[in-house]
Structures are given as C-alpha cells and as structure tokens.
C-alpha cells in the first residue's frame, strides 16, 4: 500500500510538470502548426536559471520562477522570430517539416551555448522548497513536489481561464481554427505568434526550474525532454501527416 501511494503521488507530481511543458507544445502546434523542438531547451534553460538563482544563498524561489518565466519567454519569442516567422506565408514546401528542422536547429544552438557557458557537468539544483511531509505511513512527499504540482496545476488553470475568457484568449483559439477568418477579424497574427511561442516557452521554463530540482541541470537535458514529448504527442493524436510520424520514429 505504501508503495502504491508513493508511486501514485510521484506520478501525479511528475505528470503535472510534464503536462505544463506539453501544454505549451500543444498550444504552439495548434496555432502555428509548428512541432516546436526548442521546447525542451526551454526546460533546460529554466533549470539553469533555477540553478543559478537558487544555489546562491538568499535568493527567493519566487524570484527564480519569475526570472525563468521572463527569460524563457524572451527566448521563445526570439526563437519564433528567427526560425518560424520568416517562413510564414511562403508556399512550396512542407511547413511542418521545415519548422521542425529550424526549431530543432535553434534547440541545438541553445544547448551548445549552455554547454559553453555552464560546462558539461550536471549541476545539482537545490530544491525550491526544503523539507518533506509524511503523507502515508513511510511515504514522504517533499514540499518541493507539492509546490511543483500546485504551481503547474495553477498555471494550467490560469492558462485555461485566459484562453476561455479573455479577448486575446478567444482570438488565439480562433487563429487555431481558421487563420484566414481570424485575419479578417483583424487579429494581428504576426504579433500574436511570437507572443504565443514565448508564453509556451515560459511555461516550459518554469517547469524546468522544478525539474532541475528533481533531477539535475544539464545542457543535454533538452534532447531527452523534447524527444519524449514529441513521441507522446504522436501517440495521443493520430491525425498528423506522414512526415511527423516518420520523425517521431527516427527520434525514438
């Protein structure tokens, strides 16, 4: 019984954080039709922000999350501007395949910058919150994990609320459903795309702060993360074109 509780709690905690990262990817795919391979490197970047801020004494976990959010938001928006935006509206090639490659290229660049700056060794990120609580006889749940689940569920709820209720949230859903019609409704898609990719990346960045605490911060974290995300999306929905499915096979 204790084992079951332990497995269940850690599954819920991990699932919530993966969900946070994956939801960003879904958002980007839904709106831009881009399978964003840079999403994993945002997790990695977030974990390094966590390491840099949390390992220097006196830094507040909220500061770590805010900095990770801002930094990965900017990184995501820039990624969109250099790897996707220039390809918009140009015919004559497979948009999904090409942007898969260009975002992957950005991911490689980010990974190697991290490698150059922080070195190849894994960094232990101190937990955002210290201490544990006994949830069942012999099963201890770190405060870190509870915070992780709460923050990611909270962020998902906020995102859901934003998409469901706000003017811009509605516009984002509209763009995903009919791009031309959304343009006729004067939705400024060229400004919206980088912001959406920034937002999705920022969610991944916050996920990274926590995941870094759970595992390590390491430049190669990006590859593992993107690959598992890519293939899980692949299984969930069957309506992707052949090119994406092939890519899923190559990577896994």
């Amino acid at each position: 019984m204790a084992d079951l509780v332990a497995i269940l709690t850690s599954a819920v905690v991990l699932g919530s954080i993966y969900g946070l990262v994956a939801i960003g990817m879904t958002l980007i795919y839904g709106i831009l039709r881009v399978l964003d391979m840079s999403q994993g490197s945002m997790v990695m970047a977030g974990s390094f922000v966590g390491w840099a801020i949390l390992s220097s004494a006196g830094w507040n976990p909220v500061v770590a999350m805010v900095v990770a959010f801002v930094l990965t938001f900017a990184l995501g928006a820039v990624t969109q501007l250099i790897s996707v935006q220039p390809l918009l509206g140009r015919g004559g090639f497979d948009f999904e395949m090409i942007t898969f490659i260009t975002t992957f290229a950005v991911a490689i660049v980010i990974q190697n910058v991290a490698l150059e700056v922080f070195g190849p060794r894994q960094k232990g990120v101190p937990p955002v919150f210290d201490g544990t609580v006994e949830v069942y006889s012999g099963v201890f749940l770190p405060y870190q994990s509870i915070a992780m689940a709460l923050v990611s569920v909270g962020l998902m709820a906020l995102l859901g609320l934003f998409l469901a209720r706000s003017r811009w949230g509605m516009a984002i859903r509209a763009v995903a459903q009919d791009l031309d019609a959304a343009r006729l409704m004067t939705v400024p898609i060229r400004r919206m795309f980088p912001l959406v990719m920034g937002l999705a990346s920022a969610l991944a960045g916050i996920g990274g702060v926590f995941l870094g605490g759970l595992y390590f911060a390491s430049p190669s974290a990006q590859t593992t993360c993107t690959c598992s995300l890519g293939s899980s999306r692949e299984k969930k929905k069957k309506r992707y074109p052949f090119s994406l499915r092939t890519v899923g096979l190559i990577f896994f």
């Binding site: 003017r167 516009a171 859903r173 009919d178 031309d180 019609a181 006729l184 409704m185 004067t186 060229r190």
Partner: protein, 239 residues
C-alpha cells in the same frame, strides 16, 4: 462626384504562377451597393480576397477612401473599416455562436461596444439568440450563414464585402439572407457583393459589374445590363 470608398485600378492578382485577376478597374461610392456578377472560376472571390488583403496583388492599385492599401495585410485592413464576409462562411467551428460573433468585434474600439452590437445582431437574427451557447460546427447551413453575416455586422463597416451569400442555401433561406443584406444597405452601408447570377440581386443592386476571365466586361444598372443582348444571352438562363 464624391470620392469613392473603394477605388481599384489596373489590378492583377492570382495564386503563384496563375494570374486570375487581369486588369480590374472598379469603384464603389459611399452608400452604394455594387454587385459583381460572373461565372464560376472567373475571379470574383479572388478579387474580393485581394481587396481585403488575403492575397497580395501582383500589379495595380487599391485605394480605400483615397489611401493606398494594396500592400496592407488583411489584419490591418480590417482596422480601416473593411469587413469581408467570406465565401463558405469561415466560422470558427469550435467557438460558440456568441464567441464567433464577438470575434467580429475584435478591434479594440468595437470591443468596447460589443454588448450593443450583440444585441443588434440578435435582433436581426433572433434564431441566433437561442443558439448562442452552441458550437458553430453544430449549426445548419442556414444558421451558419446567419452567423457569418451577423459576425460581419459586429463592427462598423466603411465597406462591406459579401461573397455569394446565397451559396448552398434553400431559396426560402436566401430570401431571408437578402432581406438582411437589404436592411444593412438601407442603413447606408457601402457594399460590394458577389453573386453568380441575377436571380436575387434585383432589389439591392445600385450598379452591376460583370466579371469574366478576370476582367470587368460590363458595368451598368441592372436594367441596362438586362437590355444588353450579349449579357442577357449569357445570364438569362437563370432568370
């Protein structure tokens, strides 16, 4: 004469290597309803899509109230008072009827008056009030067309482009759709409407242009065109 709301000069446009619009000249004056008529595949829809900025023209000029707009994108042109009700409705299938309508009021200025605009839309199409919470994809063809029209009327239009509002509807529904268009026209809105034939436009057309092979080949009042042998021969079959 007053300055035209829409002034198109020597317009060429198409898709990739294919040129569809081959030198169109067209003007629409304030308060006027101009109907663009022509056979399938001769460029009516392409012309509207070019005017509203969904397609970039390869040559020629488009002016909206005297301002060159042929290099502007659709999302900017909407802000200048151009409203385009596209062919085939282009509703947002997973949004509710009300959300679809609200998207019509997306520009900030219209958004502030969205409640009044919604009330007006429901007054014009009472059926939509009952369906307000329903997703657009669950509607019937007639209801969809109503949503498309109502969505186009959610913000103030300097120029309203309507693409084949009768397409795929039963005659009784077409009458209702045209009654709505006529009310909008009578309220003083400038309209450029596309239709395949003369059947339904009798009561609304101030002027009719015939578009064939990407060119405007005839312009005149409905009566003038119907008196013209060549035009009558091509289009009388449907009268």
């Amino acid at each position: 004469m007053t300055e035209p709301v829409l002034d198109v000069r020597g317009l060429f446009a198409g898709y990739g290597e294919t040129t569809v619009i081959r030198g169109v000249d067209l003007d629409v004056h304030p308060g006027e309803t101009v109907v663009l008529i022509g056979p399938n595949g001769h460029g009516k829809t392409t012309l509207l899509r070019t005017i509203s900025g969904l397609i970039q023209p390869s040559a020629g000029e488009i002016r909206l109230d005297g301002v060159r707009v042929d290099r502007r994108r659709a999302e900017e042109l909407g802000g200048l008072g151009l409203v385009h009700i596209p062919q085939g409705d282009h509703l947002f299938p997973e949004l509710t009827v009300e959300e679809n309508l609200l998207m019509g009021a997306f520009p900030r200025a219209s958004w502030r008056r969205r409640r009044e605009a919604l009330a007006q839309a429901y007054e014009l199409f009472p059926q939509l009030r009952e369906r307000r919470g329903q997703r657009a994809r669950t509607l019937s063809g007639g209801e969809r067309r109503q949503v498309a029209l109502a969505r186009g009327l959610m913000r103030e239009a300097r120029l309203l482009l309507v693409d084949e509002p009768s397409l795929g509807l039963a005659p009784v529904l077409i009458d209702a759709v045209y009654a709505a268009v006529r009310r909008v026209a009578e309220a003083g809105t400038t309209i450029l409407l596309v239709e395949e034939n003369f059947t339904y436009i009798g009561e609304i057309a101030d002027r009719v242009c015939v578009l064939e092979m990407g060119r405007i080949v005839r312009t005149g009042s409905l009566d003038e065109l119907l008196a013209d042998r060549t035009v009558a021969e091509s289009y009388l079959g449907v009268l």
